[in-house]
């Protein structure tokens, strides 16, 4: 078993489409898919992100980070949200990704989330992070 993150990427086209879709309808479509994940016993966490125009970009191109409002000039592949699922194989993660109620123009990246067990156990920073996870009950 392994954790995979399904990273949702949207474009201008997707966002425009989303704006046209009645909110109730969107909630139902996404809700039905989420319910499938829950029924299958694979859902660990999921979050969606707010309107990209409300965001801020910090650019590290130069010596100092440059902060600008709003999304990138070109919204090619904006990160829009994620699912964290617990599945038996990469193929199973991909199979779930294929079922996403995704709008035209969007993409989903499927990436494995390494467990903290895969890091060197004798490293002090890894130990500190473990302790924090234990204290706070983080995933």
């Amino acid at each position: 078993m392994a954790k995979y993150m399904l990273i949702m990427r949207a474009t201008d086209e997707t966002l425009a489409k989303m704006m046209e879709t009645p909110f109730e309808q969107m909630l139902e479509t996404v809700g039905r898919f989420n319910e499938e994940l829950i029924r299958a016993g694979v859902l660990i966490a999921a979050e969606g992100l707010d309107d990209p125009s409300q965001g801020v970009v910090v650019d590290f191109a130069g010596e100092q980070p440059v902060v600008t409002d709003g999304p990138y000039g070109e919204t090619k592949e904006l990160f829009g949200g994620f699912y964290l699922i617990d599945v038996a194989s990469k193929e199973e993660a991909v199979e779930w990704a294929k079922r996403l109620p995704a709008l035209p123009g969007s993409k989903c990246e499927v990436r494995r989330v390494p467990s903290i067990d895969e890091f060197p156990q004798d490293n002090e920073w890894v130990a500190l992070e473990r302790a924090w996870r234990e204290r706070t009950g983080q995933l």
Binding site: M1, R39, G41, A88, S115, D117, Q121, G137, L139
Partner: protein
């Protein structure tokens, strides 16, 4: 989820008809010769997600659980060949359902069972569809089973209750549940339980024949039977998890894949029966136990005892999910059953910084409660361990010696294991060593045996 955006047409038939009812269990891995590994893995992934819903829907349509399982397996075998040759279809579920449905029609034809089920399958039925949950076939002649999202939960639940039916022997329930509900192949089940593949296939075949002979209806158990029947389902999942958590033989201390399968099934069951406390209790027990997996084996795969485990290595996400499930089990307000109580004990360990700082008094009380709702010598032995921790080894030993005198755990390695441990704490070294060595001789798991021998050797 509706198979309407695809023609659902599979490729040509892969070869001579193997016939139904053979029960040979073509899992994801038998026809592997002609099938590439990537294709096989892709089909297996679809199957894991969909098999329960597919077999459930087919069983409801045909009213014949055994046939449904057969034709679903045939569709799976066909998918392996066809998808690796032509690529996966746009709608894998629709493809599998359509293929299985055609196989079911062939089977009915062979049986000359031109009855109403055949008519329904062959798409002749338009009236009465509402009663069976069937819709009229698509006007453009696409051959698909109508997929009714509102029936899926009941189908899957009916499947679980059928696979765990009391007419079946316990090991048959386990094999059948893993096969039809979890979507594992006979090979995977055989590997998990360290038995030959033909043994698993024979168990499944016999189980299907038993269900047919006993005329077990494919349905949810009536309300008055439901709680007792649920107990059988929970115990099957418990066996699967336990087998995965501690292999009874061989060298793998953990077969986490199998344990994970049980966790997944418990999550499904808890989602489908949200108002029953025990599925939540069982899920809590699994999550809290699985949380310790990362710390239970050392660098060389040797077993690490609870007292020596690095608790920072426990999976805290799993702990949190376990505590949440335990909270739900309690919130239903019918008290905790046997699994909920075991989960409550696991929660005591999960919340403790060390063995010494564990609330052993509470654990003793929980074992007393467990001994009343589900008495067993193993529960009694665990109570002895908790009593020894709470009020000293002599009190624990009294309970163990009582178990020994009444011979309630004959041949088990657990009793001499605990007895040796308690004798060692009381300073009765020679007796302790003899007990631990006896436990090691009886223990079938190589890693556990090594731990016992290590303890015995450390007594010098």
């Amino acid at each position: 989820m509706s198979p309407t955006d695809d023609d659902g047409l599979p490729g040509p038939d892969p070869g001579p008809d193997k016939g139904t009812g053979t029960g040979t269990g073509t899992g994801t891995g038998t026809d592997a010769a002609a099938v590439g590994e990537p294709a096989r893995r892709a089909v297996a992934a679809v199957w894991r997600i969909e098999s329960a819903r597919i077999v459930g829907a087919l069983a409801r349509y045909t009213g014949d659980f055994a046939l449904a399982e057969d034709v679903a397996q045939e569709a799976l075998a066909e998918a392996l060949v066809s998808w690796s040759r032509d690529g996966a279809p746009a709608n894998p579920v629709g493809w599998l359902l359509a293929t299985a449905r055609r196989r079911a029609i062939d089977a009915f034809r062979r049986r000359s069972a031109l009855d109403e089920r055949y008519a329904l399958l062959a798409g002749q039925l338009t009236e009465g569809g509402a009663v069976t949950g069937a819709a009229a076939p698509a006007a453009d002649g696409r051959d698909e089973l109508p997929w009714d999202p509102d029936r899926i939960d009941d189908d899957v639940l009916a499947l679980v209750f059928t696979a765990c039916h009391p007419v079946l022997a316990p090991e048959a329930r386990v094999a059948l549940t893993l096969r039809v509900v979890a979507g594992l192949s006979s090979e995977e089940i055989a590997r998990a339980f360290l038995v030959p593949v033909p043994t698993v296939q024979a168990r499944i075949t016999r189980a299907k024949k038993t269900i047919a002979a006993a005329r077990v209806p494919f349905a949810l158990p009536p309300a008055e039977e439901r709680r007792a029947r649920l107990g059988a389902v929970l115990s099957v999942l418990y066996v699967v998890f336990t087998e995965g958590a501690t292999a009874t033989a061989g060298t793998d201390l953990l077969r986490t894949d199998l344990a994970y399968e049980a966790v997944r099934l418990a999550r499904t069951l808890a989602a489908l029966l949200p108002d029953e406390p025990e599925p939540h209790g069982l899920l809590a027990l699994f999550e809290l136990t699985a949380a310790r997996f990362p710390a239970r084996t050392g660098p060389d795969g040797e077993a690490v005892l609870l007292e020596d485990q690095d608790r920072t290595r426990w999976d805290h996400g799993a702990t949190r999910r376990g505590l949440a499930a335990l909270g739900r089990a309690g919130a239903i307000g019918r008290g905790l059953g046997p699994y909920g109580l075991q989960a409550a004990i696991a929660a005591c360990h999960a919340g403790a910084p060390s063995v010494a700082e564990t609330d052993w008094e509470r654990i003793v009380l929980l074992y007393e409660a467990l001994g009343r709702v589900a008495p067993s010598p193993v529960v009694e032995l665990n109570r002895a361990v908790a009593v020894a921790m709470a009020s000293g080894p002599a009190d624990g030993l009294a309970i163990v010696d009582d178990l020994l005198a009444t011979d309630r755990l004959p041949g088990s390695h657990l009793l001499p294991g605990v007895r040796g441990e308690l004798l060692a704490r009381l300073g009765r070294t020679a007796e302790a060593r003899a007990e631990l060595e006896l436990a090691a001789r009886r223990c079938r798991n190589a890693r556990e045996r090594a731990v016992l021998l290590r303890k015995a050797a450390a007594l010098d």
